[in-house]
């Protein structure tokens, strides 16, 4: 018998727990010729800002052991362009659309939420953690009070359930997760990238033009898992877990730690079919281990 893969977040059902993570899947367009987007649980689109952004100068990527550093710097065509030009093609697919929004001020987040009212997307994802934007970015996500404020404010303007995306660059992820929940978040996603740096010893310069960047990929999986597990101990809203997932077994780890769904990021850069490959491996694991329903895995880590 085929195992059941569907999960539910805030009453909205997902075919399966595999979501393409923001910034690694564009607006789906480029991936559509490699994977049937209808097969995905959801797609988190590239981070959007109120106005178009050029992004950071190149180089924007550095390879590190089992990881990558990126400093794209939120290059995007702006929220209006997204709604008008990109969203229509995405809506042809039967999958959940998560719109990742980024502001320099609370007001900017709210205005983006307003613009998305009535637009047929399923979730807003508040990226309060992108480490590449000098103003705002990091500050929001590292201060529990600000996390509370921004969540509350955006909730007041949002037409869709709001997921708050947390940064791992904090002393205590539990505090921040609780702040998001108390601010009214419908869910949290974590982790965003870990601040890192790479140096070219020949040129004696940073590899990235931006000097620092965000670390992602398998290297950070242990950190991500620990944070998802910690957050799951203290909040009762659903968690979308991510950070270094490249296999079906990685997905199982995050579900056991307490995630209801997972994001796949860097793996999409390693292979355009990653999300589907991972989904197939997840099914295989379930069949081999007699797990009939993926929900049986969520939060079921035994620690005795």
């Amino acid at each position: 018998m085929k195992p059941r893969l569907n999960v539910e977040i805030c009453g909205i059902s997902f075919k399966n727990p595999v979501i393409a993570a923001s910034g690694t899947f564009g607006f789906g367009r480029e991936y559509a010729r490699y994977v049937d987007l209808n097969m995905l649980g959801g797609i988190a689109v590239k981070g959007l800002t109120l106005l178009p952004r050029k992004g950071n100068p190149p180089p924007r990527i550095a390879e590190t052991p089992s990881g990558i550093l990126n400093s794209v710097g939120l290059q995007n065509p702006g929220i209006d362009h997204f709604i008008e030009q990109e969203l229509p093609q995405l809506l042809k697919y039967d999958t959940r659309i998560i719109v990742n929004i980024n502001g320099n001020t609370i007001d900017e987040y709210c205005r983006m939420a307003e613009k998305l009212r009535g637009v047929p997307v399923h979730f807003l994802e508040l990226n309060i953690s992108c480490p590449n934007v000098k103003q705002g970015g990091v500050a929001f996500g590292t201060d529990p009070d600000l996390v509370y404020d921004i969540t509350r404010s955006v909730k007041a303007h949002a037409g869709q359930p709001v997921i708050v995306k947390l940064t791992p660059n904090v002393t205590d992820i539990k505090e921040v997760a609780i702040a998001a929940e108390q601010g009214g978040a419908d869910g949290i996603s974590l982790i965003n990238t870990v601040l890192g740096m790479a140096i070219d010893v020949k040129k004696r310069r940073p590899v990235l033009a931006n000097i620092v960047g965000g670390l992602s990929g398998p290297a950070i999986k242990p950190i991500a898992l620990r944070m998802v597990w910690e957050a799951a101990q203290v909040v009762s809203i659903p968690i979308i877990g991510m950070g270094g997932i490249t296999t079906g077994e990685d997905v199982v780890e995050f579900l056991l730690a307490g995630a209801t769904a997972v994001g796949v990021g860097t793996a999409n850069l390693m292979s355009p079919t990653a999300c589907i490959d991972i989904l197939n491996q997840l099914e295989e694991y379930m069949v081999q281990n007699g797990v009939g329903d993926v929900k049986e895995l969520i939060g079921r880590l035994e620690t005795e």
Partner: protein
């Protein structure tokens, strides 16, 4: 007609019309040959009907580094040539780091994971009669396929190839076959003319202007070619390099600065909007990778 297509290139009926969308993931390709052709320079041939049939000159393949899972990113390598009848695809690459070193140690019979063909290749416009093909060092790799295609189209090709020294020279017999004139320089004069290929280019431009120029090579070379193209008003296409992630346009890490009509610039994707661009649009001072 632009070589390569930003949308599906699954089954192309002729070079100019790529329309039908075919789901095509990465290919597991068997290596048929992997030999050193110059110091640190290798030529590999592998089997992929899909790539051999659909590739355009200037496009590239994106190769997963085998064995070592600590290296996550694929390596972009230009398509050196294709043989659609046999499904053989050729690449020519230089060992510069860990990824290419591992690649160089693979043997015939082993399998590599290849994504492609990717990117926008060289545009061969109708009506073109003559072309200069200017390459430097490992930037010559994509020009063999281009020269062959130009010859098939009946275009008169002058190939200007620059190498560091005699030992570094490769592929000359290919260009003898596919070009009408072949001019070679080495920095130290150990083969052909002594000096830079761009010096030779300027002399040639003083003699005759081609309809179009195509170029690939190190950034300093590209800069001179770009200037000469402007000075002599010859349309010029250049192939760029940048560090890549996905290779298909999804992650925005492979940016190059491209002038916009309003005098500003925008970051385009080398992998998807390029790697070939019109030289007049390219802001090379922003380019970070020295081929």
């Amino acid at each position: 007609m632009k070589g390569g297509s930003s949308e599906a290139s699954g089954s192309c009926k002729g070079r100019n019309s790529c329309s039908s969308t075919v789901m095509k993931g990465t290919d597991k390709c068997k290596i048929v040959e992997n030999v050193m052709i110059a110091p640190d320079m290798y030529k590999m041939a592998f089997l992929s009907e899909h790539i051999a049939f659909n590739a355009h000159p200037g496009q590239f393949v994106h190769i997963k580094v085998p064995c070592d899972n600590s290296l996550l990113m694929r390596r972009p390598i230009s398509i050196h040539d294709v043989h659609p009848q046999t499904g053989v695809v050729e690449i020519a690459y230089k060992v510069v780091g860990r990824g290419t070193r591992i690649l160089s140690r693979m043997n015939a019979g082993q399998v590599i994971d290849v994504l492609g063909p990717l990117g926008q290749g060289f545009t061969i416009s109708r009506g073109i009669k003559s072309a200069f093909v200017i390459g430097g060092g490992c930037g010559i790799a994509p020009l063999k396929f281009l020269a062959r295609r130009l010859k098939e189209e009946g275009i008169a090709v002058t190939a200007l190839l620059g190498f560091r020294e005699r030992e570094a020279v490769y592929g000359l017999s290919d260009f003898e076959e596919f070009s009408n004139r072949l001019l070679v320089t080495t920095d130290d004069g150990s083969l052909g003319r002594k000096g830079l290929v761009t010096q030779l280019l300027e002399e040639e431009l003083k003699e005759q202007l081609p309809d179009v120029m195509f170029t690939c090579g190190p950034v300093p070379m590209l800069k001179v070619v770009q200037r000469l193209a402007r000075e002599y008003s010859v349309p010029c296409q250049m192939s760029l390099e940048e560090r890549m992630g996905c290779g298909i346009g999804g992650c925005l890490v492979c940016s190059c600065a491209i002038r916009t009509p309003n005098g500003d610039f925008e970051y385009k994707r080398v992998c998807k909007d390029g790697p070939v661009f019109w030289s007049r649009e390219v802001m090379l001072d922003e380019a970070t990778i020295e081929c």
